[in-house]
Symmetry: C2
Subunit: 231 residues, 2 copies
């Protein structure tokens, strides 16, 4: 985890989210003057459900989860964000509040960019605005697929989905460091952590997937995809 963010302007930063690549040098400098970055330790709250959205958050290092909180009920893990992802929230165009919480899964570094500047850039740069709405649409469609996974599939299918999501979307490799606890996997797959343990054991026995010393590895991608599909 190196330190590229610090000491660089947004224009120079190699860890800015892809959305920002549509911006001019001047616009990036404008952002640079209205941003700050912070580090978080594992488990800390980066943004709290219900609180006002005064900044857009761009993750530069680490991993974070988006969770729906409900008093007295387990959290629902909606999605995971990785570096270079901008965390947009539907509340931005609605009531200016977060409708989910963002919690770090590892030590993370994040840039907070003043919301007013973002809105101002919408007027100045149509391409930026277009891409911003694109990413909002993307997250909505992703929620539809979450709906399907959670509602239609059995536990093995849901957990296989979680593993494939991590491998394909987050770590982009069949082998990766498992930064999620069993309880995170449970929140993602809508089951208890006990059930996660049991199914993980099955996957290991069937030589589909295993975790050893925090290193996760997909051993039989085809069968795992099949379980996720038919689940």
């Amino acid at each position: 985890m190196n330190d590229l963010v610090d000491g660089f302007t947004c224009a120079e930063c190699l860890k800015k989210c892809s959305l920002f690549k549509t911006l001019s040098k001047e616009q990036l400098d404008e952002i640079y003057n209205h941003r700050y970055d912070t580090t978080f330790r594992e488990g800390e709250v980066i943004a709290k459900q219900g609180s006002p959205i005064s900044n857009v958050v761009s993750l530069s290092d680490g991993l974070a989860k988006l969770v729906l909180e409900t008093p007295g009920k387990p959290d629902i893990l909606l999605s995971i964000v990785k570096p270079t992802n901008l965390i947009t929230s539907p509340g931005m165009f609605l009531d200016n509040r977060y409708h989910f919480s963002v919690i770090s899964l590892t030590d993370t570094k994040a840039c907070f960019i003043n919301m007013t500047i973002i809105r101002q850039l919408f007027g100045e740069n149509k391409e930026f605005q277009k891409r911003f709405h694109y990413s909002v649409g993307e997250r909505s469609v992703m929620l539809f697929s979450r709906f399907r996974n959670l509602i239609h599939k059995n536990m093995a299918g849901r957990l296989a989905d979680a593993i494939l999501f991590l491998s394909n979307e987050i770590y982009e490799s069949p082998e990766f460091n498992m930064d999620l606890r069993r309880s995170d996997l449970a929140e993602y797959s809508n089951m208890t952590k006990e059930s996660v343990s049991r199914i993980l054991k099955e996957f290991k026995e069937q030589k589909l997937f295993h975790i050893e010393n925090d290193t996760a590895r997909i051993l039989d991608m085809n069968r795992l995809v099949q379980i996720a599909r038919n689940g």
Copy 2:
């Protein structure tokens, strides 16, 4: 079900969606010149998941359901739209495809407004654009609450939710004509129609809610709310 739409321009129409009230006479006339209206019988497909979004649909009469389709699995009823509601889709800013289907629950009448005109109006009328994005945000947040309902609650809670949604949001009365079949309620509440029957029977026995000759009536709002809450 009267005929206000026909023979009226958009400017005169009393059934235009509230979003359009931000538009000027000229802008409404522009819409009027790029719209057509159609009627649908119960059960007909107004918009099909996967097909291109060439129009924005405004419901002027009847009721329609938004459903997530998955081959080989039961549909997931996401929401219901009623007259004066505009049907926006996250695909509009993404891949220009419907990510759910819209199916009429009753005989309906709908206005189809050319998408290009809508996009054009975004540039002309900031207030219109702003409200449009507001309604997109609203639908997203509504999905979060659907997530919670379906994931955290037991069957009685989920069905009580469905009934309260119909009463509060759709019919705006504790008594209403039940346009949904048991199977629609099942799709909304993620259970089988057999289970819907059984719980409806319980609600009737406990004098909370009953349906007689397609007329639904909430008998004990407080207890129903409590069941939906604690569910």
